[in-house]
Symmetry: C2
Subunit: 446 residues, 2 copies
Amino acid sequence: MTARDPELDPLLTDLYELTMLQAYRASGMNDTAVFEMFVRALPPGRNFLLAAGLEQVVEYLLGLRFADDDLAWLASTGRFDDAFLDSLRDFRFTGDLDAMPEGTVAFADEPLLRVTAPLREAQFIESRVLNLVHLQTLVASKAARCVLAAAGKPLIDFGLRRAHGAEAGLLSARASYLAGFAGTATVAAARRFGVPVFGTMAHSFVQAHDDEAAAFADFARAQPANATLLIDTYDTARAAHKVVALARRGVPVQGVRIDSGDLGAHAREVRRILDEGGLAQARIFASGNLDEERVQALVAGGAPIDAFGVGTRMNVSADAPFLDCAYKLAEYAGKPRRKRSEGKATWPGRKQVFRRADSAGPMAGDLIALDADQAQGTPLLVPVLRAGARVDPPPALTALRERAREQMAMLPEALRALAPAPPYPVAVAPSVRTLADAVDAQARSR
Amino acid sequence: MTARDPELDPLLTDLYELTMLQAYRASGMNDTAVFEMFVRALPPGRNFLLAAGLEQVVEYLLGLRFADDDLAWLASTGRFDDAFLDSLRDFRFTGDLDAMPEGTVAFADEPLLRVTAPLREAQFIESRVLNLVHLQTLVASKAARCVLAAAGKPLIDFGLRRAHGAEAGLLSARASYLAGFAGTATVAAARRFGVPVFGTMAHSFVQAHDDEAAAFADFARAQPANATLLIDTYDTARAAHKVVALARRGVPVQGVRIDSGDLGAHAREVRRILDEGGLAQARIFASGNLDEERVQALVAGGAPIDAFGVGTRMNVSADAPFLDCAYKLAEYAGKPRRKRSEGKATWPGRKQVFRRADSAGPMAGDLIALDADQAQGTPLLVPVLRAGARVDPPPALTALRERAREQMAMLPEALRALAPAPPYPVAVAPSVRTLADAVDAQARSR
């Protein structure tokens, strides 16, 4: 492995971005381009998206540069001419970025971000911008469902081990916290993003001891403020009785975790044992193959569970592990552009999303219009970068989390349910349709 | 963001690994532990797994250490005592690792790797070892199905943009190449792992030009050896005719790519246009929402497609985006260990997997036995690290890819099909069952 951090590696891109850049340069094309990123359709099981990942895009754009060894390696491939590689030496992102703030509720076809920059810059960043916004929007949208299902009970991200690699582990901790999780088990996410970190103990800790009660006592004495004891390694109810006996002997017990079997039934039995043993204040933590449906069923069933550890199915968005997202050219050199590929046609022009309120509530419908339309409602895309520099300082993650909370509170009731709801009304403005017709007519005339 | 590369960050772990280590240290527990990683069940739609990710585990173990700023940050959390943090200063992986070589065909319950090390080392590495092996085994197993479906036609990984983050993009390129893909579009994977890199052009390149034929000509002249032209931006058949006209004018054309619509029907029409236009040597490349089922259908239908770009659905293993994998204590301080959690019980003891051949073929059945059993067949777990050092130099990725090819060629025919097959016979040896009973009896007697 090279020492280069892949997060900031300019070569973490598709080859065609570089070959296209060489071709643009050969043709002298570098006028202003406008690209927009959007999701073509909500996957089944999603009534809305929660936009996330923008801050990582900004950091990527601000840090984008080719090092000498990057250029030397590119030269060694024999695919690029020297003059082109030399031009990459000063390659920076100098354009504008407008985007929905993280934590904004979004829908299909709506631009999540809009890049306005010299063509080569706007083109080059495609692969990584998609990679970053896709992952966090995917995870935040899944995590938001878990938060709605939990009805106020705390959720902790437990999924590093089955997240898809290092960055997925880190960024899914961030995205789920943004969506309303209480925290994560991933230490590096606490350090890097300030996400609150939680942990209990593993089965191996119990197994390594010859005696389960001794394992509990050892752990509780080493972590008195953090003594959540895992009680399902052998027999959950017997272990709960052991916890009570230990507490009577003065061992500090903050709570227990149940990780297998019928979580609701176990929680009831364990709650009874703890309460009868004088541990009414001890909390019950549940984990194991949880997702929003199972959390909702446990909450609806009145299971005495105080917090949930939600892992794999949230981190990989198991029921919908990708979004059909795209980053498409909408304007170049002052002319609107669109593709008409079957099933993948795009709308031309610099666009904005306007969200209307009405007397029934703050979300009455969205309009995808031209940016110049100044339509009714709140424009959702706001300035983030101008000429390659931040418009505002980086937002605090807690502020983005608060925005997500406010946005989810504004959702029409049907969209807050886990069940599929009738689609939220998103209209395409007549101005956009007229522009598309004009672009098509001009293409036919050639 | 900190500058720390998350791939090598020792804090990319679950909090409980650190709190358990502190508790183990407080109790003076650090005897030899044996942990095994396995997958509890094959997901629906998988007849076998292809083991992958071992080399990244080895690099992680060899590089594992806490830097001063890691320790300072841990101290700042207030969760750890100074003596414990000081003990982490010299923390290294000094143990043994036995594993199935990458590219080995594997099944449920079979240990993919076995760690034998002082308890604290063997425990600490759990989260990241799972994270690394899970991702690449998941992707390689999905990619292997695509390779079988393609029946010899080349496949290229196109999925960076929707892979779950930077490392997922890099490692899914590696895992799919290992499984038999011809290469990737991800430049950083070419640099880091030597995976062959391929690329064509994006719709935006065509859109940015006022004229589609001009776009083709510009690209082909800038990339004469690499001129695969994307022909579905507006009208696929018309674009194919433009390609023919350009070739007649001397523009170099290597091939075309089709990315939307009915790929088989378009390929037939485009093949006819190219052939009639004297471009019989030009290759047709297809992409767009492909997975193993669609590739197989196109191949079976005789579509004149020379190579496939397979992205998202392979990179995220869309139909089965996670494996139910675990890393469990099998022995500590010379005593076999198991957990008996409902639905998640594990087998005790240091185990090995023996693969038997018979007259019908090289894969007649596997036996999960104790390592000491010396059962009939080929032992699949081989020594990788001894006392924290490599037994052999790092294998070449091409050698692992060749191993995967050989292993897949040995698969019984039914398992090579995409359709669900009767499970391959994997037995648990009587010695393991007897040991489990003995462990349980001893537990009951306490």
